[in-house]
């Protein structure tokens, strides 16, 4: 096992948001919704790894998109093409693509959007019909919209401050445009996921949790489900809506 990867590019694509492409000997099968865990530096200032979703994967290349949220992602944003980073991958269960439902929806909010891109690509490969709803706070935060469109799917965009697309969050889009769907895949803020679960429509949701290891060893990320407890890093981050406990 060699966890060293070469940074190919690391560019600002929206406000505080970076797209990083890296390369390595990626032997393993990568599923949409899986994540990677990055060691920011060699030392112990950032002792723990940072989990980031896989946004795209192509042979030996992987793309991630991340936002500067604290000190670790800030240091990451300063890394340059040609530098080497230490990454564990792929982690987590990933989304399971459903073939039965025929009005499927991909619903992403903010930095929850990246994993949906690889999912969309795979669904297109499998000739599954679906629509995409992407929610942002404001115009400056918008990213990946063009890439989704380039896949040839219908994409609806909303902003909270009405600076672009439909005003409001992804739920508002569904309501306003009266979008009819029978299954969904989603990743985004906890509140958004909670609202989706409450709709009772079936789907898969990707959750975030603070992690110690990211690969199942520490029980740092355990959440309760209706029937058992699951490690977000191992039996997650994707859970089925039917098992998720709603936060009232």
């Amino acid at each position: 096992m060699n966890n060293k990867y070469l940074i190919i590019s690391n560019d600002l694509i929206a406000k505080d948001t970076y797209k990083l492409i890296f390369k390595g000997d990626i032997q393993k099968n990568i599923l949409p919704g899986q994540f990677i865990n990055i060691k920011i530096e060699d030392g112990y200032k950032f002792l723990l790894r940072r989990p980031i979703s896989i946004c795209d994967h192509n042979g030996n290349y992987i793309t991630i998109i991340y936002k500067i949220l604290g000190e670790g992602t800030e240091v990451l944003s300063k890394m340059k093409a040609g530098e080497i980073i230490d990454i564990l991958l792929p982690l987590g269960n990933g989304f399971t693509i459903m073939t039965e439902p025929n009005k499927q929806l991909l619903i992403g909010g903010g930095v929850g959007i990246p994993p949906l891109y690889l999912l969309a690509s795979k669904m297109i490969e499998q000739r599954i019909d679906f629509k995409v709803i992407l929610g942002f706070n404001t115009f400056e935060d918008i990213f990946l919209v063009e890439e989704f469109k380039a896949l040839g799917v219908e994409v609806f965009v909303s902003t909270m401050d009405n600076s672009f697309g439909i005003k409001g969050n992804v739920m508002d889009v569904i309501k306003q445009l009266n979008i009819d769907y029978d299954y969904y895949y989603s990743c985004g803020p906890a509140k958004m996921l909670n609202n989706l679960v409450k709709t009772k429509i079936l789907g898969q949701l990707s959750f975030e949790e603070r992690m110690g290891c990211g690969f199942g060893a520490c029980m740092g990320c355990t959440c309760k489900t209706k029937t058992s407890s699951k490690r977000i890093c191992k039996e997650g981050p994707v859970l089925e809506s039917s098992e998720v406990l709603v936060d009232e």
Binding site: M1, N3, K39, Y44, K45, F46, L47, L48, R49, L88, E209, R210, M211, G212, C213, F215, G216, A217, C218, M219, G220, C221, T222, C223, K224, S229
Partner: protein, 304 residues
């Protein structure tokens, strides 16, 4: 005997490297990364009589050169550990393990120890009287020398296995407690468990951990662990399993110089699942570097 082997009560270790309880699950999942039979032994996740979910999340926070955890002894209960987890483990691991046992009452501890002692792959009990993340029992037992004495004595009566007692560093006088558990019949001492710390989110103004406080582990606590091992080594005659912030083979040597017969590796496993493997492979060359023939000769060297 190879140059890395050491002896603990009832455990002959090929090397002194033992993954620490709570950072290696029940072991078998690590065999995805390497053949875990290269380990000296390992201490499995703190197990209680009943199944426990543990504390609310967030359970993890980071701090300079350290991490905080407030897992709260999440485990499937001693029956499932015996009948499910250890069965899976046996498929990939052929050595004896150390059973880390927690509890809220004397009865809990005793029953859990009695049950786990039936396992033929358990070589020793590690009595966790130092978990900072549970309300009852745990650290409360480990910070009071009389309770520590009584519990150790009681547990000793209910198992044929040696009992290693795991001490908390959150005390005024760890030597006193070490001496009491020795007097009660402890066969070895494991030390240290985590210090207690907290972090606060500047954006929300709230503690990051749902439980407010958590156990501090990692490089930040190494010097504290070294000092306590050094002190206890002078006061007791039973072996010490040293831990706290060990990240590499140099750190192993330093801990053994301080007085440890074997070491446990905790946080390092979380950052790199190959940490123990790397350390075991690094050890011979580090011994060479310092002109050490045999790792046994360095136990307590700092006291000469």
């Amino acid at each position: 005997m190879n140059r890395l082997s050491v002896k603990l009560p009832n455990l002959d270790l090929d090397n002194p490297i033992i993954p620490a309880s709570g950072t290696f699950g029940f072991g078998y999942e690590f065999s995805e990364y390497y053949d875990i039979n290269i380990l000296g032994s390992f201490s499995f996740k703190g197990t209680t009589l009943e199944k426990r979910f543990g504390n609310k999340t967030p359970r993890i926070a980071e701090t300079y050169a350290g991490m905080l955890n407030s897992i709260g002894l999440q485990n499937p209960g001693v029956h499932d550990v015996l009948n499910v987890e250890l069965v899976k483990l046996k498929e990939v691991f052929s050595k004896k393990v150390i059973a880390n046992i927690g509890g809220s009452t004397f009865e809990d501890y005793i029953e859990a120890v009695t049950i786990i002692s039936q396992s033929d792959i358990v070589g020793a009990i590690e009595l966790n009287i130092s978990c900072p993340n549970v309300n009852a029992g745990g650290m409360v037992f480990g910070t009071n020398k009389d309770i520590a004495f009584k519990l150790t004595k009681a547990v000793k009566r209910h198992t044929h296995l040696p009992v290693y007692v795991k001490l908390s560093p959150n005390v005024t006088n760890i030597v006193e407690i070490a001496k009491e558990v020795e007097r009660a019949g402890a066969d070895a001492i494991s030390m240290i468990n985590t210090l207690v710390g907290m972090r606060i989110d500047l954006k929300t103004g709230k503690p990051i951990l749902a439980n407010n406080y958590g156990g501090l582990s990692g490089p930040a606590i190494k010097s504290v662990a070294l000092k306590m091992v050094h002190q206890v080594y002078q006061a007791v005659n039973i072996p010490i399993i040293g831990m706290g912030g060990i990240m590499n083979a140099n750190d192993v040597l330093e801990m053994m110089y301080a007085g440890a017969t074997a070491v446990q590796i905790g946080t390092a496993n979380l950052i790199d699942p190959l940490a123990c493997k790397n350390i075991i492979e690094e050890l011979p060359s580090v011994l060479d570097k310092y002109g050490i023939k045999n790792i046994r000769e360095i136990i307590g060297r700092a006291h000469l």
